[in-house]
């Protein structure tokens, strides 16, 4: 997992440093590395990124930071978010007490602990040589011309992890204003906390719905009207939870945005479709909830009072910074201290640059953000406990789950548990009891069954579509049964197992390869030899084998005679032998469709086949076979034009046509003429041509025996001698 996180960020940092001006790079490296000699820029960059893995050095650099910068880095770490906007960081700095919000950001940039986010490591364009085409000469210049990416920054995860130990400059007891009353907890009031699954379940339901109705976004970054409509109204997604304190505006669109941020929904051809659940869902609720909470601060077009903005014209969303800080503030208070939300919000807004001393704000946006955020979202994530004071006002504190998410309490080691929490009924309905749910079970249930209702006991349905989806997601029948057995409070009814078996069997009856590799061997012996050498392919005929990809193929075992892309149009690849019936197929140009066509009207000739050509011969029988399979003279003519570049040969026409005029056998005399010119003359001069029956060739004429003497006399008049043998 660490490798998966580290590599893209390290590569990103390497490329970012490469776009710094050399002077700036050396200044940053001086503070980060303190090199004793003048290294070339390539080596300097390499050493800078290697530094991130040196925990002792990183800790030392963090310790050396001034208080505002260290505090800012501490917040970045606690918020578990690596990407930030400059505005957010300035707001956080000022809320943490810095007078100049931008100075701590510059301090972190200058020390190489924070970086402008303008490089895409996955870009296909080759990066310029380090420091040869600098994008940033100094950070003041970047502030003036940030480029198309805007004021985006990021903190390397390895640095963020090390900053988690920084104690934040936040009060441990919330100071009260003169007008605030101290609110005591009503000792008889119930302490309520949610199980943390509400949003996970609803995100699961959104991903399921998106299989049928993929979510689309317009160019402004908002949802399409139709999609927004169902996200706002689908009861499974939009209805208020059974246990709730505050209505959340546009809950569905927010959850869809979170699903996109988490990579559960991914853009494919302009549509957001289900990709996969994050690894954190397998690891457990703490990780899943933590990741979800971390993504909230980066939401640009939703806030707790106005709901969805559905347009990114104004990308600033300062309320989310305040909301995120409210959770960090709760985490910094004494463990069991209860806090009134209005007091907390007043304290935070008094320090935020937008609200601080700003009396011109509309009353609707002046306050109420933190109340909605904490009670509407953080409570549903299970990170908050809520109780009342004597006047029934809500008091809150972080729950154990919340403290574990923020890293304030140790997370117990994961145990291999198989909670029995689902009940499969013979009518294919599944009840999932919330008490035993885990995020992994939610993800698995989403794969195999359709969510019907979300409540204290969730209702799902096993149906062909859902099982088909599970099978498509590489589940096997045995795994489905095992999952239901493992987590079922009772054994799975036989009727359900039978249905699953039927659907799974149907799934195995037809396999579609969407872009497979088909291996064509000259003979069955070659194919068998390849399979025995471990070709990872499925034999589908005596000469063909199919594989999903070419991965795992040892090409040293093969000599490629040709490769052919199935999507290419057909080519001329047939040579007709002079005999007019033998077809020589050039295997470097032939395609699969032709392989299916030829056997219909010709016979394979192994003896004539070479390494470059496969031979087929058209015979009367093969032609009859072709005619019974739907070929006609016209379609064969067309086929020959396409594949050979000319029409049917005379021999094939002879085999195809059955004319009414039949050949006749008759005796005839043949006269051989010495020259072609003389034969032309005989055929042209009326005195001779009238006795000739036909001309067989350039110098051969036929004549009836009765006309022989007359023909001889005609030649004599032209002084041409013509001998007629006596017999």
């Amino acid at each position: 997992m660490a490798e998966e996180i580290r590599n893209p960020w390290t590569e990103k940092t390497r490329l970012t440093l490469g776009r710094y001006d050399e002077k700036l790079l050396r200044e940053v490296a001086q503070k980060l590395l303190r090199p004793r000699s003048q290294w070339p820029v390539e080596e300097l960059i390499e050493r800078c990124v290697e530094t991130f893995e040196n925990t002792v050095l990183v800790d030392r650099r963090i310790k050396e930071l001034n208080d505002p910068a260290r505090n800012l880095l501490g917040v970045i770490s606690r918020a578990m978010q690596y990407r930030w906007t400059l505005a957010q960081l300035v707001e956080i700095s000022m809320m943490m007490g810095a007078e100049d919000g931008i100075a701590p950001v510059f301090e972190l940039l200058g020390c190489g602990l924070l970086y402008p986010d303008f490089v895409d490591p996955l870009s296909s364009e080759p990066p310029p040589k380090p420091c040869k085409k600098p994008f940033i000469k100094n950070f003041e210049q970047w502030l003036g011309t940030p480029g198309p990416e805007g004021y985006q920054l990021y903190c390397h995860p390895l640095i963020s992890v090390r900053a988690s130990k920084v104690s934040l400059a936040l009060p441990t007891v919330l100071p009260l204003n003169e007008t605030d009353e101290l609110q005591e907890v009503d000792k008889l009031a119930v302490v309520r906390k949610a199980d943390g699954f509400e949003f996970l379940l609803r995100i699961a339901a959104i991903t399921q719905r998106s299989r049928k109705d993929p979510i689309r976004k317009n160019q402004q970054g908002g949802f399409f009207k139709r999609d927004l409509e169902w996200l706002k109204t689908d009861p499974l997604i939009a209805q208020a939870p059974a246990d709730y304190f505050a209505d959340l505006p546009d809950q569905g669109p927010l959850l869809a945005e979170l699903a996109i941020s988490l990579g559960i929904l991914k853009a494919t051809d302009g549509e957001y479709v289900f990709a996969s659940f994050p690894e954190t869902w397998k690891q457990g609720l703490i990780d899943a909830v933590g990741e979800l909470w971390a993504e909230l601060v980066s939401q640009k077009n939703w806030n707790p009072i106005q709901g969805v903005k559905n347009s990114l014209e104004d990308a600033s969303n300062p309320a989310m910074t305040v909301c995120m800080m409210s959770v960090l503030m709760l985490g910094n208070l004494e463990k069991d201290a209860w806090v009134s939300i209005p007091h907390l919000e007043t304290w935070l807004l008094a320090r935020h640059p937008l609200w601080k001393g700003n009396e011109s704000l509309r009353p609707s946006v002046a306050q109420g953000w933190v109340q909605k955020y904490l009670l509407g979202i953080v409570y549903q994530l299970g990170m908050l406990e809520v109780t009342n004071d004597g006047q029934k006002n809500h008091l809150v504190r972080l729950s154990e789950l919340g403290r574990r998410v923020l890293g304030l309490e140790k997370v117990p080691p994961a145990s291999q548990e198989f909670p029995k929490t689902i009940l499969v009924q013979p009518n294919l309905e599944v009840l999932a009891f919330r008490q035993g749910l885990t995020s992994a079970i939610v993800a698995d249930l989403t794969h195999i069954a359709t969510w019907r209702s979300i409540g204290p006991a969730c209702q799902l349905l096993l149906e062909p579509d859902s099982i088909y989806f599970a099978l498509e997601s590489s589940w096997r029948y045995e795994e489905l049964c095992s999952f239901l057995e493992r987590h079922g409070t009772r054994s799975t009814p036989q009727a359900v197992l039978d249905s699953l078996k039927t659907w799974a069997n149907k799934h195995e009856r037809i396999t579609i390869y969407t872009g497979g590799t088909l291996w064509e061997f000259p003979t069955e012996k070659d194919l068998d030899a390849a399979l025995s050498r471990g070709l990872p392919a499925l034999k589908v005929s005596d000469r063909f084998a199919i594989s999903k990809t070419e991965a795992g193929v040892d090409f040293r075992n093969y000599r490629l005679t040709a490769t052919r892309d199935y999507g290419l149009p057909p080519e001329k690849c047939v040579l007709l032998d002079p005999d007019g019936v033998t077809l020589m197929v050039d295997i470097t140009k032939s395609d699969l469709v032709m392989e299916t066509e030829l056997p219909k009207f010709s016979d394979f000739q192994e003896a004539l086949t070479t390494q470059q050509h496969r031979a087929h011969r058209i015979t009367p029988d093969s032609l009859k076979r072709g005619l019974t399979q739907g070929y006609s003279r016209e379609s064969l003519e067309e086929w020959f034009m396409l594949r050979a570049g000319h029409g049917l040969s005379a021999a094939i026409v002879l085999l195809l046509d059955h004319p009414e005029d039949k050949p006749v056998l008759e005796p005839m005399l043949v006269i051989h003429i010495p020259t072609e010119l003389m034969a032309d003359g005989i055929m042209q001069w009326p005195d001779t041509s009238k006795w000739i029956s036909s001309r067989l060739g350039p110098k051969a004429l036929t004549i009836e025996k009765a006309n022989l003497q007359s023909f001889k006399q005609a030649l004599m008049t032209a002084s041409i001698e013509f001998e007629i043998p006596e017999n």
């Binding site: 000599r559 199935y566 392989e595």
Partner: protein, 80 residues
Amino acid sequence: MLISNPRTQITRIPVKIHRRVCLILTEDAVLAEEILARKKLGQEICGRLTDRVLLLRTGRLEAVLEELQKMGHTPQVLGR
């Protein structure tokens, strides 16, 4: 048809590779016949390579899948 490389002593098997092939592999020939007989599916098939292998026209996967599901099949799709 096997070609031996005298230097390495590896006998290399000649093979032609068809890439990006879109095809349907059925459990038996009868099922392939059933698919071919279905009007909407038949027009999407451009050839029958073997009894059980039908070649699909490129870019027609979704239409084929939809029609197969209408027939009550739940085909396994590989490589999507």
